[in-house]
């Protein structure tokens, strides 16, 4: 352990935040883990780290991003796990960022409400992790990207300032929308500590049906479902390994009022010529859970976003360049997620091929040796790099937060 002026960093942190804030049993690579109990404690820690030159890596529950960045301390939000409020009538909730998504979902359901996000990964992923990585799941088709669910945030910057953005109401254009910068920022612009989220009424009816077939054929069925004017909550093309089925699967989820779902069922039968097989409730839950968890079964997870009409072309490209064993795609939006094993060289080459057709690749999850050279975002287009680096320096002037933002810029 590095010593500063005869006092170790650990001793300083204990003096600042109390002994219980440091979790010694969690040390894996010798980096002590600190779990501040309050937002003010996060600010105190980061302010001190900024002044002292300590490098900090960020963690939630530790189920998504490997906690392996080179750092003096690991900051986990797991003790910031309170539900501050759930307002069913106003359909909003305020939660601390270290709260597990599964716990929140149960609490919301008890109050007749629902958050339209089904992120990939383990059920216990923290809200902060989902927001920081902007990892929406299949429900993105019906309810939008992660940012659409976030009304406001509290963030602690790399130099320990507490910044609030947005608000608690569903419509708000006061000031610049700094919330958008933080959602999907991978912690490069600060640590998300609190979120105000937009809720929906718990769907009165929720049904999943599946069609199996070849990938190309199912992409056409997805097109038919769209053209038939069905309004599914999710319309997802899932590879056999992720679906745990023999063939590719198109999963259609209908959720909403009883009338909407009942009519959707009728429409679905027509659009799929009777091929859609309805899953029982527990089968449906297991199907979506396995698919979400399967995306973390390999070392790397990434997402691509093209235009919807290029979905099949993009899936072909994935198949040829990386293999398509672990793939989920939302054809209506042109977004897809891949999991697997790949070298940095291969990923860079793939990203370059995608850039030529104007498709961004976001590295959502990988071990440090890989993500530090590939970067979450890779190379930017002309003129954007200086903006991102300017924003990074604005919110983390000492570059204390260990985040592999782009190929050129990995702090630490």
């Amino acid at each position: 352990m590095e010593r500063v002026g005869g006092v170790s960093i650990l001793e300083r942190v204990r003096a600042l935040l109390g002994t219980e804030a440091v979790d010694l049993t969690a040390e894996r690579d010798g980096v002590p883990r600190v779990a501040p109990p309050t937002i003010d404690a996060v600010a105190l820690l980061l302010g001190t780290a900024h002044a002292e030159g300590w490098r900090i890596r960020l963690e939630g529950a530790g189920t998504w991003m490997p906690g392996d960045g080179p750092a003096d301390l690991a900051l986990t939000t797991r003790r910031l796990d309170q539900i501050v409020t759930i307002q069913p009538q106003d359909l909003m909730t305020t939660v601390e960022a270290g709260l597990g998504f599964d716990l929140l979902r149960n609490q919301l359901a008890d109050r007749g409400t629902w958050l339209g996000i089904d992120a990939p990964g383990a059920q216990g992923r923290t809200i902060g992790s989902i927001l920081a990585t902007a990892t929406a799941g299949p429900l993105r088709h019906g309810f939008g990207a992660v940012r659409e669910h976030v009304l406001g945030l509290t963030v602690v910057t790399g130099d320990g300032r507490i910044i609030e953005s947005g608000g608690r109401v569903v419509k708000n254009v006061a000031g610049y929308d700094l919330t958008k910068l933080q959602v999907g920022g991978f912690g490069a612009f600060g640590v998300i500590v609190l979120a105000h989220l937009r809720l929906r009424a718990l769907p009165r009816s929720d049904l999943t049906a599946v069609v199996e077939g070849s990938r190309d054929e199912l992409a056409r069925v997805a097109g038919d479902v769209m053209a038939a004017g069905l309004e599914p909550a999710a319309l997802e093309l899932v590879s056999p390994a992720l679906a745990r089925r023999e063939r590719w699967t198109l999963a259609i989820r209908l959720a909403g009022s009883a009338a909407l779902v009942a009519e959707g069922e009728v429409g679905l039968r027509a659009a799929t010529e009777g091929r859609a097989a309805e899953l029982r409730a527990e089968e449906a839950a297991a199907f979506w859970r396995h698919a979400a968890e399967g995306l973390t079964a390999r070392a790397v997870t990434l997402r691509l976003g093209g235009v919807p009409s290029a979905t099949e072309e993009l899936l072909d490209l994935i198949q040829h360049q990386l293999g398509d064993e672990w793939v989920m795609a939302t054809p209506s939006l042109g977004v897809m997620r891949w999991a697997g094993d790949a070298t940095a060289e291969r990923l860079r080459k793939f990203r370059k091929a995608l850039a030529a057709i104007e498709v961004p690749l976001t590295l959502e999850r990988a071990a440090w040796p890989l993500r530090s050279v590939v970067g979450h975002f890779g190379a930017y287009r002309e003129g954007v790099g200086p903006l991102v680096s300017g924003l990074r320096k604005t919110f983390d002037p000492g570059e204390r937060l260990v985040v592999a933002v782009s190929e050129e810029d990995h702090a630490g």
């Binding site: 610049y176 958008k180 919110f395």
Partner: protein, 472 residues
């Protein structure tokens, strides 16, 4: 004033016809849709192409001259006003729809395209551009992007930011950058999301890629009337809590109804109601929409609605909507001046806040009419007055300020869709502390270090705490 040599250089770029220097001509641009703020620009220039625009902005960068981008000037926060030391760049001639891609449901437009025109162009493909501000027949997509404009149907479909996929942005230094990607996935951090609603402070959007939405195949428009505002507000909460997501849910109070019914836009709203509520349900499936409409009708009746009427024809539906969309215009006829306000409160606070507004109006002896996006809790209390009456303008200012305080106290915010501009600068410290304001300013300086684009808007500089970061 702007140096004569600069004016000559501008004329050389766009032609004499498209530079306005005479005092009378410049006066035309002294206000936007909010008449309480007036500033006369140093010169007005109206480029006809993106290349001309780039050349203008580079010229101004070379000379360090501030400038203000402006669309149709329908904004309601004084956001597109320029002082005499600044150049006003009017973008209405950059009005081409560059691409409509029906397969991927997207369009690429220049900033000066009028909102409705895009929907009209998309209609043959069964698509439309969903955000529908009340000024949609005049306002531009560029202005919508700057303000993150809303509109009645944003309740179901989301505000402008939900629909913007990518942007080409001309920054203050004259450099063009591409933000986002053609399909809408962020390319790195979500700079498109950050740009939308930045009120021109981060640069000019020169090309805007938007999402188009399928035209609903089934629509039901219901008109309900209530004996009390409180009852109407509670009915709104009940509908939202039921899980049905109406496309729009708009409320008008008695004063607003009277203004509409006295105008050419008379829609047949009941004059004796304390509030009328316009609820629209839409979707792709006729039986589902019909069933939801029946559920909503029952909920409204169970929550004190005196009557609920369903538009029987497209013509009737249009008439009901025209009254709502032209409500601001109708109120404008009530008196010489009109202040259109904009605030958001949690839906459940609507009844209390409406009572507070009525109390404030009574105390200041002002006529306040309310028309609002009830489903979002987005209020528009409008004050009719005659600014030539001595002391009245001050009273209006004080009442506006108290109304805003009441909304903030209820857990709301100071603007839901009109923006801060210059009008609400003074309220910003009520909802953001010095750190948040300083962060906003620092972000702005990443895009525009000299703070030359649309200076003096959005962030009250005096209230910013010192910022130690790079862009301080």
């Amino acid at each position: 004033m702007i140096d004569r040599r600069i004016i000559e250089a501008l004329a050389a770029i766009v032609g004499d016809r498209h530079v306005r220097t005479a005092a009378g001509e410049r006066l035309t641009y002294a206000s936007d849709g909010l008449p309480t703020h007036r500033r006369v620009p140093g010169v007005v220039v109206i480029p006809g192409t993106r290349d001309e625009l780039v050349t203008i902005v580079r010229l101004l960068a070379t000379h360090g001259i501030p400038f203000v981008p402006r669309g149709a000037g329908t904004g309601l926060s004084g956001g597109a006003l320029a002082d005499t030391d600044a150049v006003l760049i009017v973008l209405t001639r950059l009005n081409r729809i560059l691409e409509i891609d029906p397969r991927s449901r997207r369009a690429v437009v220049e900033p000066g395209v009028v909102n409705t025109r895009l929907s009209v162009a998309a209609r043959p493909h069964g698509l439309h551009y969903a955000p529908d501000p009340s000024s949609q027949t005049a306002c531009t997509i560029g202005g919508n992007v700057a303000e993150n404009a809303g509109g009645p149907h944003c309740l179901k479909y989301g505000v402008t930011s939900t629909h913007v996929l990518a942007l080409e942005v001309l920054m203050a230094n004259g450099e063009l950058v591409n933000l986002g990607s053609p399909g809408g996935e962020a390319w790195g951090p979500d700079l498109v999301g950050l740009f939308v609603g930045s009120e021109g402070n981060f640069g000019i959007a020169t090309r805007i890629t938007v999402r188009l939405s399928p035209l609903p195949r089934a629509v039901r428009t219901l008109l309900a009337d209530f004996p009390s505002l409180r009852g109407a507000g509670e009915a709104v909460s009940a509908v939202i809590a039921s899980g049905v997501v109406p496309a729009a849910m708009e409320m008008m109070d008695r004063s607003c109804v009277a203004a509409v019914e006295d105008s050419v836009y008379a829609a047949g709203y009941p004059r004796d109601a304390a509030a009328v509520l316009l609820v629209e349900l839409d979707g792709m499936c006729e039986p589902a929409v019909a069933a939801e409409a029946a559920d909503v009708e029952l909920l409204l009746r169970n929550h004190t609605a005196r009557s609920v009427r369903t538009a029987a024809s497209p013509a009737e539906r249009e008439r009901l909507w025209l009254g709502r969309k032209k409500a601001f215009g109708a109120m404008g006829r009530l008196s010489r001046d009109l202040v259109v306000q904009d605030a958001v409160v949690p839906r459940t606070s609507l009844p209390d806040v409406l009572e507070a507004i009525a109390e404030i109006a009574g105390r200041y002896e002002l006529r306040v009419s309310n028309v609002f996006h009830a489903g979002d809790g987005n209020l528009h209390p409008n004050i009719s007055f005659d600014a030539t009456t001595p002391g009245l303008r001050e009273r209006v200012e004080l009442a506006s300020s108290e109304i805003m305080q009441a909304c903030v106290a209820a857990g709301g915010t100071i603007t839901g869709e009109h923006g801060i501009g210059v009008d609400k600068l003074r309220y910003m410290p009520w909802i953001f502390d010095g750190n948040a304001l300083a962060a906003m300013r620092a972000v702005r300086r990443v895009f525009d270090p000299a703070e030359r684009v649309n200076p003096g808007k959005v962030v009250p500089v005096h209230a910013c705490r010192e910022w130690s970061g790079w862009a301080a």
